[in-house]
Symmetry: C2
Subunit: 161 residues, 2 copies
DNA sequence: GCGCGATAATTGATGTGTCATCTATTCGTG
DNA sequence: CACGAATAGATGACACATCAATTATCGCGC
């Protein structure tokens, strides 16, 4: 990892930059998740689902659209909706136009949970992320994220397959 | 989430920056993990453990030191070592000096797995991360990560508890 | 209107992370 | 030395993510 050869070895500096970046962002995610869960009783994943549903027409969405909207695989969403349904945060109904499909519907309990979660959510983001950064750093974070996101998208779908 | 009140609401821009940052870093982690696992047959977590052990005196470490070294909770490490032991990558022995404790020992299979994983590992880092960024962006990423890391450390241990 | 590939969603298996709890051992202090 | 607190580590329960396989329905071409 110190010498350069074959085009795939990394310099110490490259490797260190990578490591501190990936480990810290992972730590940030974990800290946020823990804080958020402890303060509101719902997870970050729950929050995404609830928010999307609350903004949807009739507070309901087809599973596929929901998955698309929040950028999850359908299998992941299906499992997650199962758990949320157990807890009464959402309910599932078969889609009226296509009986293969299902709609996730926000329940009243789900609406309440979302309402109570928003403030802790924003507070945690401010405290653990925004407060740490200067405006320039925040701008750099955004630039970085957008660059990486585009790069990953290109890697994922290089023209065809 | 648009208006500012109570000091905890976020501007749209703050929220968007947060979202793209956290979602993209999470996506990067997932992409790396998938690529790495597919190419080498071991996970990123396995890699960290194997690397630490391979560099240790006698290719063995006390569980606590290992956990400390790679920054994991002991419970997490314990579960992970159990799985790695199942696959023959490591072996556990009771510590000679303290019979409460245990040592994780790198097996020959573990050493081989590490050897075969290094190139794919570096390659994935280069391809998904380093290749995406200009030198300035890479420097910004590191600066950002270090700032956040320090901030999180301060939040975690504010002087005493 | 039948048959078959495509699509929507669920399910099961497995790996992973966290928390709370448990067991065994060590150590400090009387 | 004995006892209780602290420590090392393992374990069980649960939430979560990914992958492969499965089920049910749709819709097109004949």
């Amino acid at each position: 990892m110190a010498e350069r050869k074959g085009g795939s070895a990394l310099s110490r500096e490259e490797y260190d930059s990578w490591r501190v970046f990936i480990e810290t962002t992972e730590e940030l995610r974990g800290a946020l998740a823990g804080r958020f869960q402890a303060d509101s009783g719902i997870s970050a994943g729950d929050y995404q689902v609830l928010l999307a549903l609350s903004e949807a027409e009739g507070r309901r969405m087809r599973s596929s659209e929901l998955a698309e909207g929040i950028g999850w695989e359908r299998s992941r969403l299906s499992h997650h909706l199962g758990r949320m349904e157990q807890r009464g945060l959402i309910r599932r109904e078969t889609a009226p136009t296509d009986s293969r499909g299902s709609e996730a519907v926000l329940t009243d309990d789900g609406r309440d949970a979302l309402r109570h979660a928003s403030v802790p959510h924003f507070h945690a983001i401010r405290e653990l992320f925004l407060d740490a950064l200067t405006p320039a750093q925040l701008a750099a974070a955004r630039d970085l994220a957008e660059t990486l996101r585009d790069h990953l998208a290109a890697k994922r779908k290089p023209r065809r397959g």
